[in-house]
């Protein structure tokens, strides 16, 4: 649907080199990067509002980088929405169809169903100044979708919203995508947002594409420390491959004298013995063992003894900061409230934890 190659943007002190991305028809693709990483500039280059230094852009079969924005058939919802304040909601929505001199007739049914899905029937005669934040977002999305664009670009559609409105818009975007299957490229700096809505995502840090993939591929298998850090992942440790076992199906990773048994599937490449790698322990997959309770065979490989340093109640779950006795490796463990109530934990208490295979991931 859309393909970008070798996109190079130089603007003042900002440099972006050889950016590439590919988005399939109907895909909801997220472009994730920290603030100021150039996400908006990339969007503007795709639309044709910014002339990049270099690069090719295809939409469908057509190379578009020489076309003016109005011929690219890309709709755009900027972060500040930019609803036309001098036009009513209805006129805002119909702007694109009118601008292209298309007949309103042929769009009637489609726009009507959009209006219904977006629940804006009662707003049509109002002006943008009289809409609430969530209503504005809905109208802006509707305006962008009305002329049936080949591609829809969203610039941080969920940031800066009150949590309740945020939730509403999330739901709406989901519904919208399942009902109308537009091809969407959405920019954000919030991974959780991307995880919730996106099919695929491109993570983009310091001018470099760090990882492209399905949302779970990224979340469960971050390809680098930078990605992990960007996703807000904790419990990262540098270790070294000591040996392999179980017919090379598992490796033993040594960290501070402790031995972690990691399934080989946790790394796509081959790892020789002696190689240094980052281990990531997923907090919500660590199990705190209840005294006296039996443990499944598969969990016995990675059992560590340690002490509880801190307990934080995070409302929907608790976070326990645990530190191994040997090696003094601290890691965070996240446990559901009902489990926490049963465990009778307190700061300073000695406990044993078991690491499920799902909790382990290595990175180069």
């Amino acid at each position: 649907m859309i393909k970008i190659e070798g996109l190079t943007i130089l603007l003042g002190s900002f440099h972006l080199k050889d950016f590439r991305i590919e988005i399939a028809e109907g895909e909801f693709h997220f472009l994730l990067g920290p603030t100021g990483s150039g996400k908006t500039l990339i969007l503007e280059s795709i639309i044709g509002l910014h002339k990049p230094k270099k690069g090719k852009i295809w939409i469908g079969e057509k190379e578009v980088q020489t076309l003016p924005p109005e011929q690219r058939e890309i709709s755009y919802v900027p972060q500040d929405l930019a609803l036309f304040p001098h036009l009513s909601v209805k006129e805002n929505i119909l702007y694109g169809i009118r601008a292209k001199n298309h007949s309103l007739k042929t769009y009637e049914e489609y726009v009507g169903s959009l209006v219904q899905v977006m629940k804006v029937e009662h707003l049509l005669e109002r002006y943008p100044a009289n809409l609430s934040g969530g209503e504005k977002k809905r109208v802006a999305l509707l305006r962008a979708l009305a002329p049936k664009p080949k591609l829809l670009l969203l610039d941080e559609p969920l940031s800066g919203l009150d949590p309740s409105i945020k939730f509403e818009i999330q739901q709406l975007l989901k519904t919208l995508h399942t009902s109308f299957h537009p091809t969407v490229l959405c920019v954000s700096h919030d991974f959780e947002e991307a995880y919730l809505l996106g099919d695929k995502m491109t993570i983009f840090i310091d001018g470099k594409v760090e990882q492209v993939g399905k949302r779970d591929d990224v979340f469960l298998k971050p390809r680098s420390k930078y990605v992990a850090y960007f996703l807000g992942l904790k419990n990262l440790y540098r270790g070294k491959v000591l040996t392999k076992e179980d017919m090379d199906r598992r490796w033993i990773l040594g960290i501070n004298g402790l031995r972690f048994s990691v399934p080989a599937s946790a790394w796509e490449g081959q790892a020789e013995i002696g190689k240094e790698m980052d281990l990531y322990i997923r907090p919500e997959e660590v199990m705190i063992l209840r005294e006296g309770k039996s443990v499944k065979e598969s969990l016995k490989r990675n059992i560590f003894e340690g002490e509880i340093l801190d307990i934080t109640n995070r409302g929907r779950h608790h976070t326990v900061l645990f530190q191994t006795i040997e090696g003094r490796i601290p890691f965070e463990i996240s446990i559901p409230n009902y489990a926490f109530r049963n465990l009778d934990l307190s700061v300073g208490k000695s406990v044993k934890v078991a690491l499920r295979d799902e909790s382990l991931w290595v990175m180069e």
């Binding site: 503007e44 639309i47 044709g48 509002l49 003016p68 924005p69 109005e70 690219r72 058939e73 890309i74 709709s75 755009y76 919802v77 900027p78 500040d80 929405l81 930019a82 609803l83 036309f84 304040p85 001098h86 702007y95 694109g96 601008a99 292209k100 002006y127 943008p128 100044a129 504005k136 305006r143 962008a144 002329p147 664009p149 670009l153």
Partner: protein
């Protein structure tokens, strides 16, 4: 709160300063002389001439200044800073110097050719337009640029992504959105054109019944020792200006932008 009162006091001082000036004009005008001078054909001519000339000059300044303002507000181009600097030429240049420069210009081979082959400016109506245009073009561009700067370029961006050409985005979106601000700029420029004296009198001359605009008429009234008439003319000019200023204030913003 002495800080606050000191600061506001200064603002009130400026107000009183200009107010007293206007009040003393009113105080000195005689009612009888007022109607007489006002209804005198030459006064009526000057009023009409000033209105027409200022209006045409303003239209010209808008015709050229609006696109310039747009370019300065939205585009980066080589020499932008120099262009921007030159907009202030009429501010730094004494009007009389501006007018004299025109006379000098029309004395050069190019200027002569323009007058011979095209329009006669010197001592003619077009001269008034030229003098007023030169005086306000910079200001008008500056003010309109400020109005356009207030409109987020995202509106145009969205309009274009929805299929409008850059022209359409300009007149369907940017223009209506900045309309009030532009109007205020235009009115202010108009008032300045209507008050232009030095350049007009130098280039177009003080020709009664031909190029004698209001400020020029004030000058000739003063110069021929007709003070009553001068005061009346000043009052009329100030009145026109105040009406214009009021119009500017009145053109508050309609739309709240988000």
């Amino acid at each position: 709160m002495t800080f606050r009162y000191t600061m506001i006091g200064a603002a009130i001082f400026i107000f009183i300063f200009y107010f007293v000036l206007l009040a003393s004009l009113l105080f000195s005008a005689s009612l009888k002389g007022f109607w007489e001078s006002l209804l005198h054909p030459s006064t009526l001519f000057s009023i009409r001439l000033s209105l027409i000339a200022a209006t045409i000059a303003t239209l010209l300044a808008v015709a050229i200044g609006l696109p310039s303002a747009y370019a300065l507000s939205r585009f980066e181009f080589r020499g932008k800073r120099i262009v921007d600097t030159f907009l202030e030429i009429p501010i730094i240049m004494s009007p009389i110097a501006l007018g004299a420069s025109f006379l000098v210009f029309f004395n050069t081979p190019i200027g002569e050719t323009i007058q011979r082959k095209g329009i006669f400016f010197v001592f003619e109506f077009p001269g008034i337009l030229l003098a007023q245009f030169a005086t306000i073009a910079g200001l008008a561009t500056r003010l309109m640029k400020a109005s356009l700067d207030e409109i987020s370029p995202r509106y145009e961006a969205v309009a274009r992504s929805l299929g409008s050409s850059s022209w359409q985005a300009f007149y369907r979106v940017t223009l209506p959105l900045s309309f009030r601000g532009l109007l205020a700029s235009v009115i202010l420029s108009w008032a300045k054109a209507a008050g232009e004296f030095g350049a007009t009198v130098t280039l177009a001359g003080a020709m009664p019944g031909k190029t004698e605009t209001m400020p020029v008429a004030i000058f000739t009234a003063l110069a021929s020792a007709n003070i009553e008439k001068a005061i009346v003319l000043i009052l009329i000019l100030v009145f026109l200006g105040l009406v214009a200023l009021y119009a500017v204030r009145f053109t508050g913003k309609i739309y709240r932008y988000d």
